[in-house]
């Protein structure tokens, strides 16, 4: 028992985590079981990241972690200790929408808007990987995001438009 205790000295009920979220350093003491999505929404108050299915299927919770898109309901916040996170709140600069946001607006890429932050963050990652995607590549790239309203056509159109805008 004593040996076990010693080994586990570092393991506590509450742990400190620090990460950079949209360029701002943030830290808090949380329970290790806190999901990244709950850390962002409930601890930091960044409710732009949506929490939908909670099973890793719908993509509403998509954020960028160290340059890669991930589903924030499927990773614990402690695992993101030291990471750089970008959420939907981090895209607009000086009151100016990001080109992907603009393109969603102009192309009616949303109706109820629940899925939108997830789609936009996934599109953000996709266009970084592949600034010049074909329609097929866009469709594959958003296959981890579900929209119950739009039928996807205008989302695909918006992402293709965003790719054009971002080249300018």
């Amino acid at each position: 028992m004593a040996r076990k205790k010693q080994l586990l000295e570092t393991a506590e009920t509450y742990v400190s985590v620090s990460m950079k979220v949209n360029g701002v350093p943030c830290s808090a003491k949380i329970e290790p079981r806190t999901l990244l999505v709950h850390f962002l929404r409930d601890v930091l108050g960044l409710t732009g990241t949506h929490w939908g299915c909670d099973t890793g299927n719908c993509g509403a919770c998509t954020v960028i972690m160290n340059g890669k898109s991930v589903k924030s309901c499927n990773i614990f916040a402690v695992q993101a200790d030291g990471a750089e996170i970008i959420t939907i709140e981090g895209l607009a600069k000086d009151g100016q929408l990001h080109p992907i946001q603009e393109a969603f607006w102009e192309n009616h890429g949303l109706q109820c808007g629940f899925c939108t932050p997830g789609f936009i963050m996934q599109a953000y990652w996709l266009l970084q990987q592949n600034p010049n995607p074909t329609e097929e590549e866009v469709r594959r790239g958003i296959s981890g995001n579900i929209c119950r309203c739009t039928g996807y056509q205008n989302i695909v159109k918006a992402i293709l438009t965003a790719a054009e805008k971002m080249k300018r």
Binding site: L7, D54, N57, K71, N74
Partner: protein, 293 residues
Amino acid sequence: MYVRSFQYLAPKTVKEAVTLLNKLGGEAKVIAGGQSLVPLMKLRLATPSYLIDLNRVKGLDYIKDQKNRILIGALTRHAAIENSDLIKEHVPIMAEAASHIADPQVRNLGTIGGSLAHCDPAGDWGAVVIALNGEVKITGPRKDRVMKIDDFFIDTYQPNLKKGEILTEVRIPKPQPNSGGAYLKLERRAGDFATAGVAAQLTLDVDGVCRYAGIGLTALGPTSLRARKAEKTLLGRKVDDNSIEEAAEAAAEESKPTDDPLRGSAEYKRAMARVLTRRALKLALARATGGGA
């Protein structure tokens, strides 16, 4: 749902990870990509008291070219395999299979080691590593063990891991010249687990006679399965429509699918085993002979 409380441990080396796992035994679980484990924890099907995170362990994330084989670290993400030039050059079937796993976000986190160690018969890597005759390296408190992938899958969710052991490396022999492979997966929608899947890898000699055949089945039994009889049917014979049809029949026969309310009856899946084996072998043949997309 909220997962049960746990204590979080983040070892920096394999040795530390293995020591912790050995000390804590059944109370602990390692987490790699977390893309299978986190959902299980939410359902409280897994309730570890300690979570040992492998993501901060150094030296488990690599794809290396080592003479006649490719070595893949257990923590290598599905996406890294999908996009690796080394993989595309030597074992393109792995890049093809990776692109069919889940969706881009899940592939950015999920790992090959976690997928194999999870021993889900619907996991795509099992069949592919079987078709390629791969091996896994296991590291534990005692000596490393290396075993054929076939010996790693004991039963559904039961990998051949003893107390304190983790999977550290996947070893893939490089296919010989005149080889081709294909992974075909039937899914209800993009990103779904397989209703059925077949991985086929062939090597031919100059006369088109089969020198190597590896056939792995996904979601067609209690674990990823090797279609042994189908492989034997092809070995030493010319690979053509006749031998392919016989092999497809054999694979369907030796598959062990079960009825499931989501993805169909055992009978349907068996029929799909035949269809997919036939198509995968035809595509593998075309690729081995320089054709096929």
